[in-house]
């Protein structure tokens, strides 16, 4: 099962990276003679209103979605890790303050908050990355804080302290690496969630806008063609989202079984 997931992800990643080389069509080039063509041997996934090849657009859009997910996850992880580590290790007042901040972020359903941030900041890719990153910080913050609370009392930490290491060094150099297994699992699962978020934001118009192609936006374009039966425009981008998210989820589950069996009910 997880091998299949890895396989799919590998294909997606490769396709995203190698797109310009592999695909014969230009994603943005219109072709007035071949508009709204159903999937066939010339255009495997059909064309849209402007005659653009959907397969090419799909792959290029995939690059955007993956990029957003990776960047957002990386930022959220870094910020969350620092917050969680400091909060868990120092405790006391600073722990209370940081936890209140995290609580406030989690007081909103995350998608709704992402909507608000995206609306406030604007539609650029960077802003969407920031919006998603902010809503994901609590995930890593809490996780690492929990791990930190658990291991700061261990003998390992005690030894590091006795030797005279500075607190910052203890936190980041010695203890943080021990938190990696659950973090890796969580990050993998959260990547899928990030993709769903950016796609949904783009679908309702708050995310990535044309001319940059993105899976959610492509699906939105396809929505108006349901009533006239051109199904391929909305089906394939959605399928791409589902396949990618599913692969991340399966991979995350497999990683969890391997790295951290005690997390098994989370």
């Amino acid at each position: 099962m997880s091998l299949a997931a890895l396989g799919v992800l590998a294909v997606v990643a490769l396709a995203a990276l190698a797109a310009p080389v592999l695909l014969p069509y230009d994603p943005d080039a219109p072709d007035a003679e071949r508009t709204l063509e159903a999937p066939g041997h010339r255009h495997w996934l059909g064309t849209d209103l402007y005659g653009r090849d959907q397969l090419t657009r799909l792959v290029y859009a995939g690059r955007v979605d993956l990029l957003v997910a990776i960047e957002a996850t990386a930022i959220a992880l870094s910020v969350g890790a620092v917050l969680g580590a400091v909060s868990g290790y120092r405790g006391g007042f600073i722990d209370q303050v940081l936890m209140r901040i995290i609580d406030t972020i989690q007081a909103f359903p995350s998608f709704i908050l992402a909507m608000g941030i995206a609306a406030a900041l604007g539609n650029s890719v960077t802003n969407i990355v920031i919006a998603i990153a902010i809503t994901h910080v609590p995930i890593y913050g809490r996780l690492i804080r929990g791990e930190m609370l658990r291991i700061r009392e261990t003998e390992y930490a005690e030894a590091a302290r006795t030797v005279g290491n500075r607190q910052r060094r203890i936190m980041f150099y010695h203890l943080l690496p021990n938190c990696f297994p659950p973090v890796v699992v969580q990050a993998t699962l959260a990547m899928g969630f990030a993709i769903l978020t950016v796609a949904a934001l783009s679908y309702i118009g708050l995310g990535i806008r044309p001319p940059t192609s993105e899976w959610g936006a492509m699906t939105a374009e396809g929505a108006s063609y349901i009533v006239s039966g051109e199904w391929w425009i909305f089906v394939f981008p959605g399928m791409a989202i589902m396949a990618t998210v599913l692969s991340f989820n399966l991979l995350g589950d497999a990683l969890r079984d391997v790295l951290d069996p005690r997390m098994k009910g989370v």
């Binding site: 998608f111 949904a200 349901i226 998210v245």
Partner: protein, 336 residues
């Protein structure tokens, strides 16, 4: 018990404050100058400056925040210039539509999701278990808007059983007199068969789509909890005491499983709110999500932050309610 209630209620206040602070920051950070927006396109620079002063935009942040809070307390959530009305009024007018959709979807998710999770755990590795795992894994990965579009394509375009996604009632049907705002309920109260049929007909597909999207995580969690409960010592003791299967599984185990599931309802509600926005968009459902998004599209930026605030506040109270119900139902908390 009262300590439990007390702490929970007290904690709500700082959380609410945090929520307003966030939406205040978001409003403040909005691109553009609110005074410019309010003054209109023909305003002169002096006019805009005057507007800025009147709106307090030249004041320090803390003062502005205070004014913001005061405004909120008076129900001032700004104005929408697409509708020309106060945002609060717009929201309240559209809340029943969202509420009806949310409740219908919740009903679907609970009525299907919980039994599915329970039976999947009881008949582990049976065909229903495989179905539930498929639903759980697949459903979580499907983007809700895509599910909605697929449903529309299959049931509306291809099969013709679903109505066109044009709103809550088919064109030509007069709505029943407004009592609750929920068309189905109002139609029943007014004994209006036609309106009821039409309202249900329009509601079915979006409710199923939204319900299905939150059903996936719910089923997974119910299944996991039930499996854990079935392995517990007191269930083994119940078997040893010769109690019939019906009592042990669907009495004792189920009861113990449902209690933690209550805490899930808060999270489920969060998923519902998020999915609502998208489903309303797909089906052109005239709820608050659609309103906020449509306003945003017309560069009318007030409604969306007020929408975020509204949802945030409701979410806080829903979670509080869930906590309180949990405290009441679990005897370990109810009795010290």
């Amino acid at each position: 018990m009262f300590g439990y209630i007390g702490t929970r209620v007290l904690l709500v206040l700082p959380t609410l404050l945090g929520v307003t602070l966030v939406t205040f920051v978001l409003t403040y950070v909005l691109p553009g100058n609110p005074a410019l927006v309010k003054a209109g396109p023909l305003a002169t620079p002096e006019h805009i400056a005057e507007m800025e002063r009147r709106m307090g935009l030249d004041q320090p942040m803390a003062v502005q925040y205070w004014r913001y809070l005061r405004g909120l307390a008076h129900g001032d959530l700004g104005e929408s210039h697409t509708t020309g009305r106060p945002v609060l009024e717009d929201l309240l007018q559209r809340v029943p539509a969202t509420l009806e959709l949310t409740l219908a979807a919740l009903l679907v998710a609970l009525a299907v999701g919980i039994p599915l999770g329970v039976v999947a755990a009881v008949r582990r590795d049976g065909w229903l278990d495989h179905v539930s795992r498929l639903v759980g894994v697949g459903g979580v990965a499907m983007p809700t808007f895509w599910t909605g579009l697929l449903a529309l394509y299959v049931f509306f375009y291809a099969l013709g059983v679903a109505p066109p996604p044009l709103g809550r009632l088919a064109t030509g049907i007069t709505p029943p007199p407004r009592v609750t705002g929920l068309l189905t309920v109002d139609a029943v109260l007014a004994m209006d068969g036609r309106a009821l049929a039409s309202a249900l007909h329009q509601l079915v597909l979006p409710a199923l789509v939204l319900g299905f999207s939150v059903m996936a995580p719910l089923t997974r969690m119910v299944r996991a909890t039930m499996l854990e409960v079935l392995e517990s010592d007191y269930i083994k003791a119940a078997w040893a005491a010769g109690l019939p299967r019906r009592t042990v599984v669907y009495g004792d185990a189920l009861r113990n499983c449902m209690i933690p599931v209550i805490t899930l309802l808060g999270v489920v509600f969060g998923f519902l709110m998020a999915g609502n926005v998208v489903v309303e968009s797909v089906f052109s459902w005239p709820g608050i999500g659609n309103y906020a998004v449509a306003a945003m599209m017309s560069k009318d930026s007030g409604p969306i932050q007020s929408f975020v605030l509204f949802v945030g506040v409701v979410y806080v109270f829903v979670n509080l309610a869930v906590d309180l119900v949990y405290g009441l139902v679990d005897p370990r908390i109810r009795l010290r």
